[in-house]
């Protein structure tokens, strides 16, 4: 199965490499796209992690009513279709948005969202929750014994920074920043809507333009290789700088307040939490408020696109699970799981647009790629979900093997019987979560489908983009609410289903 994934990822890449063979050179606009890709990814990563530090610190050391709900809600942008997030940001920061309305009211100048600042803003919006979660996870895992010791030794705020925060940040921050950098280098939908033009085009967008507008396969292939090189470098650096967390293990007592608390730190935490909540939740609120009244009047083609998207999401999730479960079992049995993990990493390092372009090159001589737009999109979406599914499944398979493995061995359970009796009952929860995640990603994807699709064949995100492009704002906002609702509902249904089965 791992070999199959390798083939599905490396095959298109090989096809792209084959097409790139020839006297093709990067032009000025291509270099500009490379520079912009690196610049926006660096600024987005920096912005996300810098803002995440005070927010994660505040959430780690404060307990208040609704804290858990806020942490959960802050995860919403991770699941949210990018195009919906961008529409929400436009509602707040756009020309006719709430912020410019307020600035106009007090006589101040307009804020421009299009261009580099808009791309960075959207990426920070989408990745701040990820950065907060990565840091919060580490901060919450500080053994409470260590915090008790800090109380006992009379640590001040500065001592806490020096002995607790700095070692954790040094271990987590570079990896988190490079992960976000990596994610932002493959940005397509954000750059498509908020960027564009020679000065604000990412490499992914340049591939799309070379392919879709110029049908210049050679240039698309060359840009694809550049994109892969950027991703592989960023990915290897991310793996390289991730350091072992060096704060020790504890006895898992209940978390407790940090010493050295002052009125200033309490105010600082309140501002950080409120600011982050407003930044992340106001755009979603704006989408719902503006789009809800338009849902009932949406045209038929939007509903048809929604139906196609649901089918695609379910098929893509099913394919992702069929690949991930055997891979997870294989990774656990293999003495050197880094090899299989490397395969999953490939799916992050090779961008969706490159896989899509490669598949087009492969399919083109034998069939009409446009007719296969939906299956190809489903396949790419399944491959993109794999790393997340494996992250959820591997620990659960390890746990199941540790607790039931010997019994299964003793009973002679093998193959499907072992899967059915010893593994699947224990995988219900991570499977539900993983399928939900894969379905949600596929539901909101606006990437490969944009390469192939023709009118009447699009998914809901693509239809929404077309509505935005034709200035049918009300319909676009209605479609955004529908897309957001369907995405969250799909995730919730699978995640909930997994939990129910696990509890049974």
């Amino acid at each position: 199965m791992a070999a199959l994934v390798c083939l599905a990822v490396l095959g298109p890449l090989g096809a792209v490499l084959w097409r790139a063979d020839g006297p093709i050179r990067l032009g000025a606009s291509d270099w500009s796209a490379i520079r912009f890709t690196l610049l926006q990814a660096a600024l987005s990563a920096l912005g996300s992690v810098v803002l995440a530090i005070p927010v994660a610190r505040a959430l780690a050391r404060r307990t208040f009513r609704g804290r858990q709900a806020l942490v959960t809600l802050m995860g919403a942008p991770f699941l949210l279709p990018v195009i919906v997030a961008v529409l929400g940001l436009l509602a707040i920061f756009g020309r006719a948005g709430w912020l410019n309305g307020a600035l106009g009211w007090i006589g101040a100048g307009d804020v421009q969202i299009y261009g580099l600042q808009g791309v960075v803003l959207a990426h920070v919006f989408l990745n701040l929750p990820l950065a907060v979660r990565l840091l919060l996870q580490d901060w919450l895992s500080i053994p409470s014994e260590r915090i008790r010791l800090a109380h006992a030794l009379g640590f001040s705020h500065a001592d806490m920074r020096r002995h607790f925060e700095w070692p954790l940040l040094r271990a987590t921050l570079p990896g988190a920043a490079l992960l976000i950098f990596l994610i932002c280098t493959t940005s397509f939908a954000v750059a498509l809507i908020l960027g564009g033009g020679p000065a604000a085009t990412t490499v992914e967008l340049a591939i799309y333009q070379a392919f879709r507008f110029d049908f210049d396969l050679g240039r698309a292939a060359l840009l694809g290789i550049v994109q892969v090189a950027i991703c592989v470098c960023a990915g290897l650096m991310a793996f390289g700088v991730t350091r072992r967390r060096d704060i020790g293990a504890g006895l898992d007592r209940a978390p407790m307040a940090w010493p050295g608390d002052t009125r200033g730190s309490r105010w600082g935490d309140t501002i950080a939490i409120t600011g982050a909540a407003l930044f992340l939740l106001l755009p979603l609120l704006a989408v719902v408020m503006q789009g809800l009244p338009a849902v009932s009047g949406l045209p038929g083609l939007v509903w048809a696109a929604a139906a196609r998207s649901i089918v695609l999401a379910l098929a893509s999730a099913a394919l992702a699970v069929s690949l991930a479960v055997p891979m997870a079992i294989f990774m656990v049995r293999l003495r050197r799981p880094a090899l299989v993990e490397g395969v999953a990493f490939l799916t992050i390092a090779v961008s969706p647009m490159v896989i899509g372009t490669g598949l087009f090159v492969l399919i083109f001589p034998v069939a009409d790629p446009v007719a296969l737009a939906l299956p190809v999109t489903g396949l790419v979406n399944a491959l993109i979900s794999l790393p997340f599914l494996l992250r959820a499944l591997v620990p659960a398979v390890q746990q199941a093997e540790a607790t039931q493995g010997r019994l299964a061995d003793a009973l002679g359970l093998r193959g499907l019987q072992r899967l059915r009796h010893a593994l699947l009952p224990r995988l219900s929860r991570p499977l539900g979560f993983g399928v939900g995640l894969a379905a949600a990603f596929s539901m909101g994807d606006l990437g490969v489908i944009a390469l192939f699709s023709t009118p009447g064949q699009g998914t809901l995100p693509l239809e929404m983009y077309r509505l935005m492009g034709s200035y049918r704002t009300d319909d676009a906002q209605g479609a955004a609410v529908l897309l957001m609702g369907l995405t969250l509902a799909l995730f919730w249904a699978f995640d909930r289903g997994g939990r129910l089965n696990a509890d049974a």
Binding site: R146, L149, A150, A152, G154, S156, D159
Partner: protein, 229 residues
């Protein structure tokens, strides 16, 4: 004198209530099954928990709501509780100055404490390069440097092998004799208690059910203590 006056706490369905005095220099072993309230009582005395009712007095001064670091106590935790990113020297020095801005005199004091626990020359190492017994001695050196009149021990040597445990208890006893420390030690093993302490408290479901001199308790054990012998 450490006075626990009408102390009570209800937490997650567990109730602890207790009144007791500990004279200066007393060494009290806190014995009891898991969940009997030993750690909760130590947490109340140390200041990690606040009682619902009652007072904690140290030499007549009300310390019930004093911050942990302001109490005249030092604590040995269940694990040695060392910072893995700091050297042995810095881990000990934290007991003197959390910001680690040490004068020449401070450094001499840290070195002295390391020598007292036979860790001279280990100052540059990281805790991960030490054995379990050596880590316990680093924690003891930090406690020495804190130099507080009351020592609270939360099963600090439970993870050590019997030989090391005996050695650490002997070191602790020597330290108590030398400095006249008042000591409260939570433990599971009556033999450990006997090696270090001169007074025995037995806790059951958050209540103090036996309070006796160690020698009396061992000569004529109350019925409740027999299962522990």
């Amino acid at each position: 004198m450490l006075t626990l006056e009408d102390l009570s706490l209800s937490q997650d369905g567990f109730d602890l209530s207790l009144t007791a005095d500990i004279a200066r220099g007393d060494r009290v072993a806190l014995l009891g099954a898991s969940g009997s309230g030993k750690s909760t009582l130590l947490s109340l005395i140390a200041g990690f928990l606040s009682p619902d009712r009652g007072r904690i007095l140290c030499d007549g001064r009300d310390m019930t709501h004093a911050p942990v670091a302001a109490r005249p106590m030092s604590i040995l935790f269940q694990d040695s509780n060392l910072f893995p990113h700091l050297s042995v020297f810095d881990n000990v020095a934290l007991g003197l100055r959390p910001d680690l801005r040490l004068s020449a005199q401070d450094r001499v004091r840290v070195d002295d404490c390391l020598s007292r626990v036979d860790l001279h020359g280990f100052g540059d190492r990281r805790p991960s390069a030490l054995s379990g017994g050596q880590q316990a001695r680093v924690a003891l050196a930090r406690m020495l440097l804190r130099d507080r009149p009351i020592a609270l021990l939360d099963e600090p040597f439970a993870a050590l092998d019997p030989g090391l445990k005996t050695e650490m208890l002997a070191r602790m006893r020597e330290l108590c004799d030398e400095r006249g420390l008042t000591l409260v030690m939570a433990c599971h093993d009556l033999r450990d208690a006997e090696r270090l302490c001169d007074r025995l408290w037995l806790l059951e479901d958050g209540k103090l059910v036996v309070d006796a001199a160690m020698s009396d308790a061992l000569d004529k054990p109350p019925d409740l203590l027999r299962p522990w012998m």
